[in-house]
Amino acid sequence: MKTKNIIRQIASIATLFAAWQILAVVVANPALPTPGSAFLVFFREISAGLWNHFLISGWRVLASILLSLLVGVPLGLWLGREEKYDRFFSPMLYLTYPIPKIVFLPLVMVLFGLGNFSKIFLITLVVFFQILVTTRDAARNVSPALILSVVSLGAKRRDIYRHVIWPAIIPDIFTALRIGSGTAIAVLFFAESIASSEGLGYYLMDAWSRYAYPEMFAGIIAMGVLGYTLYLTIDILDKKICSWKRL
């Protein structure tokens, strides 16, 4: 069963590369190098600084996701369970949620400078909303019958959160994380591509401005690897923590 899964994963990635190869041959333009040449440059570039950019970007994304969880989950729990506060905050949330947070980049840069913090802040702003809304909706929809059954066992507020609400929303948090990490990388690219000197976004824009297409693709591959690593980590944690969900 396990080897079958691994074979399927490899086949999936191989198909992607085959399609890329065919496209590159058909297009026959230096702007689209073949996967072979892109990977050659990718491995060469890794020791020549790309690894560093990768680490910096990775740390920014990870810090943003953790920060979003730290703020978004408790806040979502609270709004999901306390209707009167939710009624006050909901309009605010719905008014600000759809705004593409990237438009605040100039403001964030003015307020927090050009360093790590402003980038992390911007990514957090985006991921935080997704986690907040998902957590709130999940907390709101926890089965009242389950809560009642635990109350009948003598549970106080704290027990209800610990034994019912918290475990009930964890699968939804993982879903939010999956969606959030994709968005996080997209925002990361944008934040790093402006007034920046490190990170994959910078690396990509720099390569582009030099028309160094194979390097650009090395950067794209690095971003793919970053996203893949994130998804894989989330999947492994999800399987470990929410094994009951797949029965």
């Binding site: 635990v150 109350v151 066992l153 019912v164």
Partner: protein, 266 residues
């Protein structure tokens, strides 16, 4: 008071006098039950039967201390129901098992919430799993069990807190006919071994007749007690095949049909 202090060898007595309950809804106040009066003695199974929305579950929630009532009286061993009354246990229709907890974690949940010492939690948990015949399922999740096994886990979780009053809201309604009968006999056995009082709400006429030492027939909306049947042979091994049993079922059906007609008049 420690957990050992309360005696579990004896069930609780329940007295309900002129009890009414109404709740607020979008359409204003809705009366759920009106002027309910009955009393039951310690240590037997009592069944409540009646049409949907006649307030049967409401009564159980009141007895469990989950709904504060405004008028009338409900007493368990002479005291008002409290949400944390240690010796009352409620089993809901869909078992109320937490899907993210294993059988073991579900069974010990009530004891954990009551902050019992872990050695006692362990001892009691193992004993109750054996008694319920589900010791082999301890590490599995509720979703991996059959309906009958899930019901046993729910009963185990309730009994682990050593109640003297067990309230059950249509506990066997989602089981197939065979499992239902064997669970009824199982409940009967548990009850007589432990001597606790059980109040069981059901839709099934045969279930009410087989289990209920007294059968309380609810009617109407808001619900009231239409009739109380006395049923001394309840739970006897061959009772189901007995003429008296069929006779009682017919009488119960009659009382229920009266319900339906009453429904038309309302």
């Amino acid at each position: 008071m420690t957990e050992q202090d309360h005696c579990v060898s004896e069930g609780a007595s329940v007295t309900v006098r002129d009890l009414s309950f109404s709740y607020k809804s979008a359409e204003g106040r809705v009366d759920a039950i009106q002027g309910i009066t009955f009393s039951i003695e310690k240590g037997d199974i009592y069944t409540i039967i009646g049409p949907s929305a006649s307030g049967k579950s409401t009564l159980l929630y009141i007895l469990a201390g989950l709904l504060p009532f405004a008028s009338g009286e409900a007493l368990i061993n002479g005291e008002k129901p409290q949400p944390g009354r240690r010796a009352t246990s409620l089993i809901l229709q869909n078992y109320g098992l937490l899907p993210w907890k294993t059988v073991w974690q579900n069974v010990v949940l009530g004891m954990e919430i009551r902050r019992l010492p872990s050695s006692e939690i362990h001892a009691r948990g193992e004993k109750i799993l054996l008694e319920m015949g589900i010791a082999g399922t301890a590490k599995r999740y509720p979703a991996e069990l059959s309906g009958g096994q899930q019901q046993r886990v729910a009963i185990a979780r309730s009994l682990a807190t050593e109640p003297d009053l067990l309230l059950m809201d249509e506990p066997f309604s989602s089981l197939d006919a065979y499992s239902r009968e064997s669970m009824q006999e199982f409940l009967q056995e548990i009850q007589s071994r432990r001597g606790l009082t059980v109040i069981l709400v059901t839709h099934g006429i045969e279930e009410a007749a087989f289990l209920g030492r007294k059968i309380i027939v609810f009617a109407g909306h808001p619900g009231f007690v239409r009739r109380i049947f006395d049923n001394p042979p309840a739970g006897a091994p061959e009772y189901r095949k007995n003429d008296a049993f069929f006779h009682l079922c017919t009488e119960l059906r009659g009382a229920m049909e009266l319900n339906r007609e009453a429904g038309k008049i309302f």
